[in-house]
Symmetry: C2
Subunit: 413 residues, 2 copies
């Protein structure tokens, strides 16, 4: 008898959605395509020679440990370093509060597994990081978006949503946020907003998941104190990652939180993949403890700042004046909003792809019908300076043509 | 308000159980303890110098790729190599049938996520690999053990269990097995048994998950053809791993199966950790394609054979004659059965730990009350030759003392 796989798949697979961005992978790999789609770091900035030397040395000296399994919690050395680093940044932590994860994505998966029941509403930013919503949805959670402005989520919207869900006997337990240089908008939640959000969380007994992969990539000014640094009630769980500040290919991130929560997460991770790569953990530790990562971050900030400036300037120069975009002070992303008289962002993307330029249309970042259909995420992290200029110029011409067409239409000709 | 974490944990966390073995980790790390508990590979066999050189070279030459994210499916080169390797071993596969996972443990987690509904019975060996059962249980599945003998699972027991579950309207969909040098018994399912099991699976529309981390570590004779090689109905999913044949510290394994199933698993993995370590994938590929891994396996087999022989000989020499054990032809594990007039294996373990010798008592490998309470898993992979001899000698003395006590008791004195 031949297996009919559809009869074999578990009910929860209905909630599994692929990331549009990951589906793009094959397409945007084509050398002729200029892609503003992926949120991958620019690999021309990878310090290959230094990493090559560090790996060779650590495996020669400590290979017996660095090539073996680690405990599920992860390397004590690395966790101690991260605890000290976070403590110095104002969020007191100990190694016991920290678990090493496969990037911050695994943190989101494990937290959803441990905190989200089937049917639970989970508060997210609107628009929100697709991978965060996918993790929530894969455990049957329902992302509920909270509107944002240039200062981050709007506190009144957050409180009203909590109250209206609570009135329906669906009180939310968790708010998931990327407070620094948010994916997809690039917006940083202001210090004042963080305090307001934390006060609301405290009033309503809400746990905040603070996902911070981009915070160190700051090209102007400083980022405000983290939620975890401001927290006085142990209601913040923090996710960090080496993917953007060093390299993603070792799959190393971390989660900091109250010991009781971390204990459950350790149990969940044990079943999932036993432990994160010890080779990756050792590399991250060696390069961190010697201060190398911090120096590398300084270099990255000057290099990514260039890319950001080129994209922002090109948008100002080539895009029609009625197209708005955010002006992020760090990270990888710019959010573009097309006026409603333009085609949808999905339609614009289809036209752009014909000219070998890619971005991400906005719908995937919203968990509601029609949400994001006039928005788009542009990432400046991967293409080089010339490609950024060229790609935005091509899109600018396309958008001007569309604007002219819609003006013609609007005037009835 | 302070967070009461117990009110926050999802219902599924009730199913999460820690591995006794992983909990041992701290204890057995003490230098004075001789541990037969962990199933870790012997790290004195890690080819540190060669891996150090290979890593240095690949990062210098291909760092831009090797340090970046990969696709969720994993490196096409590595998948193609694995497909060819499996095809040459009699199980035809293409790269498209394969996804790279974080060791075979992640394969078990992803398959449980994709195939197991809450309350589903899942057939497993009895005793079974703890991590396999934990993965099943963490999604609400219920492991149902099938009795084994020295030839593997007993086909009549398998069929009767299927029929009795089907009669209760609980028809199982999946049978999970480690056919080569099984964890925990060391037993290899014979070729004849595999055919019988496959025929039953075909009659009852059952999917077989064939978990094969140890198959290449064969110290005598040859392993029978894999279930996947024998399968004619695409009803076998195969899990492989580099953890035991090369190193575990890169967290690289793979899953081969029908494309439709692999497609779902890719979706599930995307949310879980985006992709496995590209550095680990590149290393595994480089060392495989040059034939290095195969040569290394030959060396490992001669080294582990020594350890196995020393443990088997020591058990024969030092253990009381009424204590039975398996005689595995490969892998890492020997299963010891104490007669019922001895204390339970948990009690014996407590006594052994006082003398700084550790093994794993049998209960965790059974999903039923009282199961395994007279069995124990002994691993010879990690301790060195001298430690194996010494540890078994200490245990032998302890067991002789217990035997004398129980003889005294039995004779009423």
């Amino acid at each position: 008898m031949t297996i009919k796989w559809d009869n074999f798949f578990a009910d929860r697979t209905r909630h599994m959605t692929g990331s549009q961005i990951r589906q793009f992978f094959a397409l945007t790999e084509k050398p002729e395509v200029i892609s503003f789609a992926g949120g991958f770091p620019g690999n021309e900035f990878f310090p290959c020679a230094d990493i090559s030397a560090a790996l060779a040395d650590l495996v020669m000296k400590d290979g017996k440990e660095a090539l073996q399994y680690t405990s599920t919690e992860g390397s004590f050395n690395l966790r101690s370093y991260l605890a000290t680093r976070m403590t110095l940044e104002g969020a007191p932590n100990k190694a016991e509060n920290i678990i090493i994860t496969d990037g911050s994505q695994q943190g989101l998966d494990l937290l959803s597994r441990v905190l989200v029941n089937n049917g639970d509403p989970v508060l997210v930013e609107e628009p929100a990081y697709i991978g965060g919503m996918s993790a929530i949805k894969s455990y049957g959670g329902i992302p509920v978006g909270i509107k944002m402005d240039g200062q981050g989520v709007i506190p009144q919207e957050l409180e009203q949503t909590i109250e209206s869900l609570t009135a329906k006997n669906k009180k939310p337990k968790v708010f998931y946020t990327v407070p620094n240089f948010q994916n997809p908008t690039g917006v940083t939640t202001s210090g004042q907003r963080r305090k307001e959000v934390l006060a609301i969380a405290s009033r309503h007994n809400l746990v905040i998941i603070e996902d911070n992969p981009y915070g160190d990539l700051c090209y102007e000014g400083e980022v405000p104190a983290s939620y975890m640094a401001l927290d006085r009630n142990s209601q913040v769980i923090y996710l960090g990652s080496y993917s953007k500040i060093l390299i993603p290919g070792i799959r190393i991130g971390w989660m900091a939180g109250p010991e009781k929560l971390i204990g459950k997460v350790v149990l969940a991770k044990q079943t999932t993949n036993l432990c994160s790569s010890s080779l990756g953990q050792q590399l991250a530790y060696r390069l961190s403890i010697k201060g190398y990562v911090d120096i590398h971050i300084t270099k990255l900030n000057s290099l990514y700042k260039q890319k950001r400036d080129i994209m922002l300037n090109a948008m100002k120069r080539y895009f029609p004046a009625d197209i708005k975009h955010t002006e992020p002070k760090g990270g990888f992303f710019i959010w573009v909003t097309f006026p409603e008289y333009y085609p949808t962002s999905r339609e614009i993307l289809d036209l752009a792809l014909k000219q070998n330029v890619a971005f991400v249309h906005g719908e995937g970042f919203y968990n509601k019908e029609g949400g994001g259909c006039h928005g788009a995420r542009f990432s400046f992290s991967q293409p080089n300076n010339l490609e950024i200029e060229k790609g935005i110029k091509i899109l600018g011409k396309l958008l001007h043509d569309l604007a002219n067409n819609s003006t013609l239409k609007a005037s009835g000709q």
